[in-house]
Every structure is written in structure tokens, then in C-alpha cells.
């Protein structure tokens, strides 16, 4: 299958990326080429093959729930572009 400009716009929205028209056109071409290359995987019969998500699978790594000091608030907020009252400041998300 091949991508369309609408696909590119939809993916960019899902990924929360603002793209210029030139970028959209470029990614349409480049992503199509990469996906076409990936179609090589269709050569393989994968019936009954289990997926591998991690090279070395470890499961249920748990630790005791012991209270320990966290980073000081001022360190946590140090890199924030905007802050107020010991919180990250952003534009309102919910309407009144």
C-alpha cells in the first residue's frame, strides 16, 4: 500500500508534530519508500511465531514499597519553561 498526504497529516496530528507543507511532501515520499522496503517482511511465513518485545525477557520485577526521599521540588521545577506556585504552568486544557 502507499501513503497519501492525508495519511501523513493524520500521523503528524497523532504524533503532535506541526509540519510545513514541504516537510509533509518530503515525509510522504520518504516514509513511502521505507514502508515499501519493509514489505520484504511479507516474504516470511510467520504462522505460529511468537513476538519478541525484549531481547532478554524479564517479568514482574517488583521491589519492596519503601519510602525514600525524592528530588527536591526546586530541582524538579528547575527546567520548567513556566512555573507558578510550585507547579508546572500550562494553558488551560478543559473549557469552563
Amino acid at each position: 500500500m502507499s501513503l497519501t498526504l492525508q495519511d501523513v497529516e493524520k500521523i503528524a496530528h497523532l504524533a503532535r508534530l506541526e509540519l510545513t507543507q514541504a516537510e509533509k511532501a518530503q515525509y510522504l515520499e520518504q516514509l513511502s519508500a521505507i514502508l515499501q522496503y519493509a514489505e520484504m517482511l511479507n516474504e516470511l511465513d510467520l504462522d505460529g511465531i511468537e513476538p519478541t518485545a525484549h531481547a532478554i525477557a524479564q517479568q514482574n520485577i517488583l521491589r519492596d514499597d519503601i519510602a525514600a526521599p525524592s528530588l527536591p521540588l526546586e530541582d524538579v521545577l528547575f527546567n520548567a519553561p513556566q512555573q507558578a506556585q510550585n507547579q508546572f504552568l500550562i494553558q488551560s486544557v478543559l473549557e469552563d
Binding site: L3, D7, V8, I11, A12, L14, A15, R16, L17, E18, L19, E23, Y27, Q30, L31, A33, I34, L35, Y37, A38, M40, L41, N42, L44, L46, I49, E50, P51, T52, A53, H54, A55, I56, Q58, I61, R63, L71, D75, V76, F78, N79, A80, P81, Q82, F88, I90, Q91, S92, V93
Partner: protein, 485 residues
Amino acid sequence: MIPTTLTEARSALQRGETSSVALTQAMLDRIVALDNDLKSYLTITDELALEQAAAADQRRANGKDGPLLGIPIAIKDIISVQGAPTTAGSKILEGFIPPYDAFVTQKLKEAGAIILGKTNTDEFAMGSSTENSAYFTTRNPWDLERVPGGSSGGSAAAVAASLAYAALGTDTGGSVRQPASLCGIVGLRPTYGRISRWGVVAFASSLDQVSTFGRTVADCTALFQTTAGYDPRDSTSLDVPVPDYAAALTGDIRGLKVGVPAEYFIEGIDQEVETAVRAAIAKLEELGAEIRPISLPHTRYALPVYYLIAPAEASANLARYDGVRYGPRLAGTDMIDTVKKTRALFGPEVKRRIMLGTYALSAGYYDEYYGRALKVRTLIKQDFLNAFEQVDVIACPTSPTTAFKIGERTDDPLSMYLADIFTLSVNLSASCGLSVPCGFDGQGLPIGLQLIGNTLQEATILNAAFAYEQATEWHDRAPELNVQD
């Protein structure tokens, strides 16, 4: 004259012929003299380095010693050092100052290593040349018109040019082995989970691994030894003892079974690379290894598998860069618009991979792309497990070519992706791998031999590389750089 290798520097410190302060100052002077041309460092932490050096000299005066005590090293700028800028080569982290040290940084500080600075990287470690760094492109010390490889190209160039005795990188698809090969040094990518990823900026979490560079196998091993180990803060960290790797470097490889995979000597590989690698394999045989032909039949699928899995994981990991908690924020009409405008600060390759990963994970395409890639990953992993039933080590080229020219591959992402064709499978499987210098092409550019080992068999591949290194003289060559002493 300052000592050439980490091992020699340690001896000089032990004999009292130099001090850590003197070594550190000499390295900082070299950086000032050479790095304007080389561009291997993004940040020089000179004040921190000289403070640490004075403290290391004090520790030594108090009778302490250790492989890295007082040794100046460099850290890829994707690994957090408290109080020093950490950008991951991206504008989206410009000005970010980590509030804590990465696990490996803690380990280095405890060992008394001196942190000279943070080295250049492709943005978020996505690339094979450092050309994707949002700041500048690092030059290859063997030819300043060529790339050092990537993504850890800053670390590799710094070590090759003696602007650090060793350096940390990260290797998600070859990002340490490939630049080690292109810069003529040793680069080890340990088994996934051998070194904690805590405090390392995430790219593709199932593939990322902190890795080490050195001028020699022993130097690379010293840094690896110090940084390996279990860390409960990284749930994928392996809770297994760390062997004495230095003690494993005996140089005796008699009876070692070395497999040569037919699939790694393919069309497209430089003839000079193939010749050098085959000569290196013959040298291993001469040293007593048994050479056997093997097959890794799913090798050709590693590239498409990697370029679906890594971008998928990256698209999830990089969702955190929304301009809320760190980094710059570009204000828009509402919160979503602000996030979109801020994320436009990502460079072209990062955006491309986020787009690709988002698509591969999106409704309707998940099974066709991401799901399929995970299944083929199983086949690739199985190839290696089968091979390691017959052999102890796999020998092959690290990179199909020597260092390419800056700008040569930037227009075509797929041609850049092919730079990693021989390294990706190690990350997809449960193997470990390294690159060790094995010759030079006609233009004087270094060639690397890749040695791959089974899960947690780092000692085996390090010793094989050590045996080879002791029998050859490639590591004695250093790039000629003009420095006014």
C-alpha cells in the same frame, strides 16, 4: 608527552610520574587546541574536571588506586551528569540541566574518573554520522572531510584523537561499534541489561544499551568493568554478578570456535573491508581458533525489523517532549497547538522516525508492521541462539564501508540506514558485540572487525579481540592532528 592509552596513564599515575591534575589539564589543553576543528565535544566541564582531578590526586595520596582513578574520560551527551547541560544533540533539550546523575555517571564518580565533558551525538542517538546533531557535525580525526560514524561519533572521535582516554556511548543499533570502526578504536556493546540505562535519555528502550570506547581492548574493558552491574532503578537491568573482565584478557584463544556468517559478506561491502576482515579471521585461526562457516539466515530482515521497532519505541518515548516540564516551549493558540509547535523543534530525522513509529503502531497497521516486526525479531534472535550452539564467537565486518564523506548520504535516509546493516542484529537478539581495529583502506581510513558473543559472554569476545590486538599493530597508529605543543 602525555601517555597514549588509559592503561599507560594509570601506570604513570601509579608510579607518581604524573598527577591527575596534570593529565586533566593536558587533555583540556588538547581539547582547546584541536576540538575547534574536530568538534567532538558539545560541552566541556573543565571546572568539574579539575575539581575531580584534585580529589583523585588526594585519594591516591591516601593510598587508593583503581582502574579509572584520576583518568580523564568523556560522556556522550545523552547520559545525565548532574549540573551539566544534557541535550541529546537536540534543540528540544537545549538548556536542560539534569537534576541527578545517571547510574553510569555515579559509577564513574565513585571510581574517581575525571569527566572532561559531554560529546556530540546524532539527535536522540538517531543516526550513523553525527550529521543529525542539532548543533554541529563531528569530524573524523583520520580525515576531517569525513564523518566519525554515529550516533556516538563525538565520543569515538574524542578517544581516537586522544581528547579523552575512554568514553561512554550508547548503542541502539550499532551507535558505538560503527563509530569505533570508522575511527579506528575499540567499542564494546554489552548484552542488553548488563549496564543500567537509568539516567540515560531513552530512544528505543528494548534496544538501548550504554557502551564503552577505548583506544585498546584493555582500555575499553576498564571502562566497561566500572560501569557494568545491577541497578534496581532500571527494571531491565540484569541481576547477575559482574566477572573480572580484565582477568579474562589472557590472549589465549586456542580452541575458540569462531563462526563466519556467509550473510555478512554480501554485495555492497567494500572490497578492502572484506579483505581486511578475512585477513583478521585468518589471524585468529593462526592464533589457534577454529574457524567454521555458519549461517544467520534472517540477516537481511534485520534492517526493516529494526526500522519498524526502533521508531515505534521512539515515538512512544519521545512523546514526553511536550514543553511542559523541561526544554523550550513555543506558545500556540491552545495547549495542543503549543505542544505541536514545541515539537517542531525536533530535527528532520527524529520527526521522520516519530512519524514512522506512530504509523507502525496506529490502528489498522499495528499487526501489519509493528506486530510482524516483533515476530521476525524472534527469528533473528533464534538464528543467533542456533549459531552459538556451534561456535563461541561470530566474526564479521562492523561496517560495510570505511568513513564516508560528510553530506554524502544525508539526502537518502535508506542509504544512511544501510551503514548499520551489520550491527543491528546484535541489538535485536540477546547478543553482545564489539569492534576492534583490523586494518586501513587505501586512503588510510580505519577498518573494524566485529566480534559477536552469546548472552553475557563479553569476556569471551573481549579476550578474542585482545588476542588479535596483541598479534597486530593497528592500534599503534594514531591520526595525525596538528597540535601546537
